[in-house]
């Protein structure tokens, strides 16, 4: 009996907290389903619920295009970074070579530096290369994902060296060992790094705001910033655009939760 009461109290408080934490998103969705011009009403069930805000935001206000831009940047950015990280991580985890430790230390030192530090010089470099308003500008400066590489090195170190040695005795070269042995065995962590990099790019607002000045190159959050300053009062549309921006990460997280959680825990606890 005492245990049941205790469990009830715990459930109760957890539910209260959960509603508070998720309330902004619930209210965002409710508002986005209300007819335009009624965004400030307190009705909980929109009368009648409408998808017209979504339609209008995607077509008339070009969020369809921004969404595609975000998708291109995040997918290619994540794919490229994951390939580079995996290759480098293999060398650090399973091969010996001169200058291994200093190189690794140099790469990792970047993790101590606030991200804001790099914005000014990276912008100057991208500008001088003439990359403003290109996908390149959004993707290439973030290809060397140090955190992702660190996660992969830690993971690959747990693969027994005997497996690698056995493959070598059988005549496999480094490239074969990498592709046929290490990559398949590190699949879960490679997926984690891909997803975390995808999420990083999807949310890389400040950088995208600086390098995308042409409407055709806006990503979803940049588009939202511009829409907001032009149409502050169109609340239902603003919330529809916000919902569209949040949807992909939410879906990915629900289906691939364990990859995100594992990556973040490993990164924090060992890092």
């Amino acid at each position: 009996m005492v245990n049941k009461v205790k469990a009830f109290i715990i459930y109760f408080w957890l539910t209260v907290f959960l509603i508070v934490v998720l309330f902004p998103f619930i209210w965002m969705i409710i508002t986005s389903l209300k007819p335009i011009g009624t965004g400030l009403t307190l009705t909980i069930i929109p009368r009648p619920p409408t998808l017209s805000n979504y339609k209008s935001v995607l077509t008339q206000y070009k969020f369809g295009r921004y969404f595609v831009n975000s998708l291109i940047v995040a997918s290619i950015g994540a794919l490229g970074a994951t390939v580079l990280c995996t290759m480098a991580a293999f060398a650090f985890a399973k091969l010996e070579f001169p200058l291994k430790r200093p190189l690794f230390g140099m790469f990792l030192s970047v993790l101590m530096v606030p991200g804001l530090m790099f914005v000014v010089p990276q912008f100057a470099i991208v500008y001088r290369l003439g990359w403003i308003n290109t996908y390149k500008a959004m993707i290439i400066p973030h290809l060397a994902n140090v955190f992702g590489m660190f996660l992969l090195v830690q993971y690959m170190k747990t693969i027994p060296d005997e497996l690698v040695d056995a493959a070598r005795v059988d005549g496999a070269n480094n490239w074969t060992i990498f592709l046929k042995l290490i990559v398949p065995l590190s699949g879960a962590m490679i997926a984690t790094v891909f997803l975390l990099t995808f999420q990083f790019h999807w949310n890389n607002f400040l950088w995208q705001l600086i390098v995308a000045t042409d409407e055709h190159m806006y990503t979803v959050p940049v588009g939202l910033a511009m829409f907001r300053s032009a149409h502050e009062e169109l609340h239902t549309l603003k919330m529809a655009a916000s919902a569209i921006s949040i949807l992909p990460i939410t879906m990915i997280f629900i289906f691939a939760q364990r990859y995100f959680i594992e990556g973040i825990l490993r990164g924090a606890i060992k890092g």
Binding site: L18, Q122, L206, Q257
Partner: protein, 297 residues
């Protein structure tokens, strides 16, 4: 034993190293270079650089608006860090048991952490809107009149901090939850036998065992507060404005926002100097926190 030493290792590292060198290594030094220069022609900012010795740094030392922005960033950290640690600890303790719905709750608390700060800021601004936003209206219905939370000097910073704590607390929850699961049960059993009440167990076992996580939260929190930008860009734009002596200052104009404004107006040298001072401050505070919490790195 087969030799694993191989020059081929470099082939695997080179692609990563090239992009690291161009976009993370070189920029560090380029920023240092820029911080000793001044743009003389904003229409040709990148070629019209003039060497000005320590001019930018000297100007920075005397720049009230800059030090104010650092102070506001630190204030933001001083609110969000303890608040996040407190909320995360409570959530982790509530979730640290084996009932069927734990995973569902964990998912719900953690999800907002992964979402874009700017978009979440836009949603919160809508909730805080005055006088027609839902928070104001609901409080009004139960007879509480509140000032415009994001536009009043006393409440603006706190309101942003609360919104972002609720967004980010899932991260700390996850770390503390993992930490709690790693504390050996035998410690509590021994304490119970010795007659230690639950609150003593909390202060003498649980909290000390979680210290490394708390340190991690503090250090990443400081770096995060000094880099904070999108939440303020989205919710307050740096306002509301107050008058301090002869200076007009923004109550939420944090360092990230100040840096962005300088970059926007192409004051590259000055913006680079700001970056370096921020870096130094972040490193000093992180080192001091590590000392204070007395945890080995």
């Amino acid at each position: 034993m087969v030799s694993r030493t191989s020059w081929q290792a470099y082939l695997f590292i080179i692609p990563f190293a090239i992009f690291f060198a161009i976009f993370l290594g070189y920029p560090f030094f380029y920023a240092l270079y820029l911080s000793f220069h001044k743009v003389t022609d904003i229409y040709d900012a990148f070629n019209a650089l003039k060497f000005v010795h320590l001019h930018n740094y000297i100007k920075l030392m005397k720049d009230v608006e800059f030090w104010w922005s650092i102070l506001m960033s630190l204030l933001y950290g001083a609110i969000t860090i303890p608040l996040s640690i407190f909320v995360s600890l409570i959530l982790a303790n509530l979730l640290h048991r084996t009932f069927s719905l734990v995973k569902l709750y964990r998912t719900g608390f953690f999800l907002p952490y992964l979402l874009d700060v700017f978009v979440v800021a836009i949603v919160w601004k809508f909730l805080y809107a005055h006088p027609y936003g839902i928070i104001t209206q609901l409080l009004q219905r139960i007879g509480i009149n509140i000032p415009p939370l994001l536009a009043s000097p006393k409440t603006a910073m706190l309101s942003v901090a609360i919104a972002m704590t609720l967004k980010g607390c899932g991260f700390g929850m996850l770390l503390y939850l993992a930490g709690l699961q790693n504390i050996p049960r035998s410690l509590y059993e021994a304490a119970s036998i010795d007659g230690a009440p639950p609150w003593k167990q909390l202060f003498y076992i649980t909290l000390p065992m979680l210290k490394p996580i708390t340190l991690f939260m503090v250090v990443t929190g400081i770096i995060g507060a000094l880099s904070a930008f999108a939440e303020f860009y989205g919710m307050t734009g740096g306002g509301p404005i107050i008058r301090v002596g002869s200076h007009i200052l923004g109550c939420t104009k944090v360092a990230g926002l100040y840096l962005f404004r300088n970059l926007e107006s192409l004051k590259l040298g000055y913006a680079a100097a700001i970056s370096f001072v921020l870096l130094i401050i972040a490193l000093i505070i992180s080192a001091v926190s590590a000392k204070l919490l007395r945890v080995e790195w």
